[in-house]
């Protein structure tokens, strides 16, 4: 009798746990009706947000689902988009990219980061990109019948990784903003596609990298120039594969990184020193001229010193330590040093910065030698 009762109970439980439609589990989803969203664009309006989404190319090569709506907040916008797509269930568990439009970045990304952390659907390792302009324009403009924004961003991410620039995630942005009140994220801009000469397929807009953007207290503080981006990248994670044009030659940096330390005099912080070591190879050279390795090395060092100086100088001008110089400097504080950590905000903008780069050309493919 006991066994029969146990078997009946087990069968009853099995029926409840089947996952078939209409059972007690509200999170049930039919696989064939799921439409995974891979890219989200967010812009701010006066009354709320503009949410644009793209599903990416389907596994059968089908056209992407690209949608846009506005609502009072992100979740209401998600609900509204779902109303517009009754045949597919929009599924946000595999979002790869979040594009932040200028209007959203100007007013602050902290609400977005809060939402991403709280939403069970979102992942914190989703790549966050700041768009120069409107995010919805980039999402819709870069999508067509055979391509979409996700493909373009995936390609851009691969390229940037090859070039050695770091592509920041929501987690890194949130962590940086909370730790030091500022963060870096990659910036992109929408451009008419210039590269395509002839194709049978429709031509959509390109989304190209545009250096880094600086977020200060959650809001957009500045876009870095190409030179500042190189300096920031060297200090943040180091770069590999970046190209530098010098005196008619094209060099490729590999294994380049910079580190900051404090200059301490009698236990007081009197400056910041940045040391950079870099190796480079010559990719292209001036027509006819033999390479002067020593001249190139000093030009390379000067170029990198300038890049580092400009990145730090912007940081000081903004009063925003987006390079975490404070952390690096405090690591080198001698025992019993004065409390520079507490005075950092006031000291930092006027601290003298010394930059020293030692470039080395390791490879040259000069056929004439």
């Amino acid at each position: 009798m006991k066994r029969i009762a146990a078997i009946c109970l087990a069968l009853g439980a099995a029926l409840l746990l089947s996952g078939c439609e209409g059972n007690m589990f509200s999170s049930h989803r039919d696989m064939e009706h799921l439409r995974p969203i891979q890219t989200i664009g967010l812009d701010r309006t006066e009354g709320g947000v503009i949410l644009s989404v793209s599903s990416g190319i389907g596994p059968d090569g089908g056209a992407p689902l690209v949608m846009k709506t506005s609502a009072a907040g992100i979740e209401p916008a998600i609900s509204r988009l779902q109303d517009y797509s009754p045949e597919d269930e929009l599924f946000y568990a595999h979002v790869r990219y979040i594009l932040i439009g200028e209007t959203m970045a100007d007013q602050g990304v902290m609400p977005l980061l809060d939402w991403a952390e709280r939403s069970p659907a979102m992942r914190m390792d989703t790549v966050m990109l700041a768009v120069k302009g409107n995010a919805y324009a980039a999402v819709t403009g870069a999508s067509g019948a055979k391509t979409d924004i996700t493909e373009r961003l995936a390609s851009l991410e691969r390229e940037e990784l090859v070039r050695g620039l770091h592509v920041y995630t929501l987690r890194e942005a949130a962590s940086s903003l909370l730790e030091r009140g500022s963060a870096l994220c990659m910036a992109v801009e929408q451009r008419p596609s210039e590269g395509t000469v002839y194709t049978e397929e429709e031509v959509t807009d390109a989304v190209i990298p545009a250096g880094y953007a600086v977020l200060q207290n959650g809001a957009l503080a500045a876009y870095l120039t190409e030179e500042e981006t190189l300096g920031a990248a060297l200090l943040e994670k180091g770069v590999t594969g970046t190209h530098i044009k010098l005196d008619g030659c094209v060099l490729e940096l590999f294994g380049a990184s910079a580190s900051a330390s404090g200059v301490w005099e009698e236990g007081r912080l009197s400056g910041i020193r940045i040391d950079c070591t870099l190796q480079a190879g010559v990719l292209e050279r001036k027509e006819g001229g033999a390479e002067d390795v020593e001249r190139l090395q000093s030009a390379l060092s000067a170029a990198v010193e300038s890049a580092l100086s400009s990145a730090v100088s912007l940081s000081q001008r903004l009063g925003c330590d987006y390079l975490d110089l404070r952390g690096a400097v405090m690591k080198t504080a001698p025992t019993g040093a004065a409390d520079a950590d507490g005075d950092w905000e006031t000291m930092f903008p006027s601290l003298p910065v010394t930059v020293k780069a030692a470039g080395e050309i390791q490879r040259s493919y000069d056929l004439s030698n």
């Binding site: 999170s27 952390e117 992942r123 987690r171 962590s175 730790e179 690591k331």
Partner: protein, 373 residues
Amino acid sequence: MKDSTVTRPQFAAAIFAALLSPLMRVLPRTSVLMAGRGAWLCAVPSFLILLVLTALMNLLRRQLRPGEGTANLILRYFGPVLGRLVLLVYGAWFLFYAGFILRGGAERLAATVYQQSNTDPFLLVMLALCMLAALGTLRATARTAVILRAILLLALALVSLFAVSNVTWKNLVPVDLSDAPGILLGAWPIFTVGGAAALFSFLSGYVEPTEKPAKWVVLPLAIFSVVACLLCMEAVGTFGAALTAHLSYPFFTMIRDVSLFGLAQRIEAVVIALWVFADFVLCTLLLRCAHEALRTVCGYPKSENLPLFSPRRGRWLLWLEAPAVWACGHFIAASSQQFSAWSQTRIPLLMNLFVFAGFPLILLVGRLRKMLI
């Protein structure tokens, strides 16, 4: 008559699996709030404090007669009236804490997977399952816990392995002497959770006697400390101290980003669901502890080998425990914010009172009694 004795390894497994539930609730957030990036070192002082507690519990264990648990000892030391009062207070704490644990499990599911859900269905289902286990033998619960501990540890190990690529080592160092006060403070939530193991000495009467009890305590304690260290290290390494302190369940948020070689993602629901096992073991043990306290108050003998639903020999007390636990779980807090307040301050303080003040007091009373009589 069937042998209902629990072996030492089984008992150690049950306690270990049970403690993983509160450990995940308080860590790494509470330690990070106090110790910052040095939270991963908090497990060291907490290990030392728990070793002292182990030595104290060993002194108490030596006073036990064969088949006795702490409840019998309290009755002997404090006398029939005061002893019964102390046992009622401990019994009430067990039931209250069981309700808190069930509510905590429900809040965890509502915060991470079933967002904005009502917590009552989770609470009721878990309570029903724990009641079924509590009505059975402790041996069955402990044998189940051996398997559950292995599953939970395997899940922890795999998640830690796959999450290590997201760790930024810069978030963990440098840690210097100026961080020491914070690290010592940050040990508080860890040894509070670990100290809860002492409460299960109420079940000592069901555990086989051993000549080397320390062997079954020190190793699990060391593993417990390593797990605590690892939890803090990975969460702080991944999110940084400031972000970790903002997250409700940093470990489960971290799992959202885990990818198994790019073949599988979004495994967090499975891992979160596994922690229901830890809640199940802890709540079952607490129900049994409460039963031991109340049974001793009423003077009922042990009732291990009775049929499952038999109310004889004080088993009806277990049926009274269920509504009390449900009421505690349901009414403890009207919102998750109120529940967090309980979780962060009041519950740890009460736990410290019952463990780090209560057990030394029992020992002291016993010593004084011996001196006087």
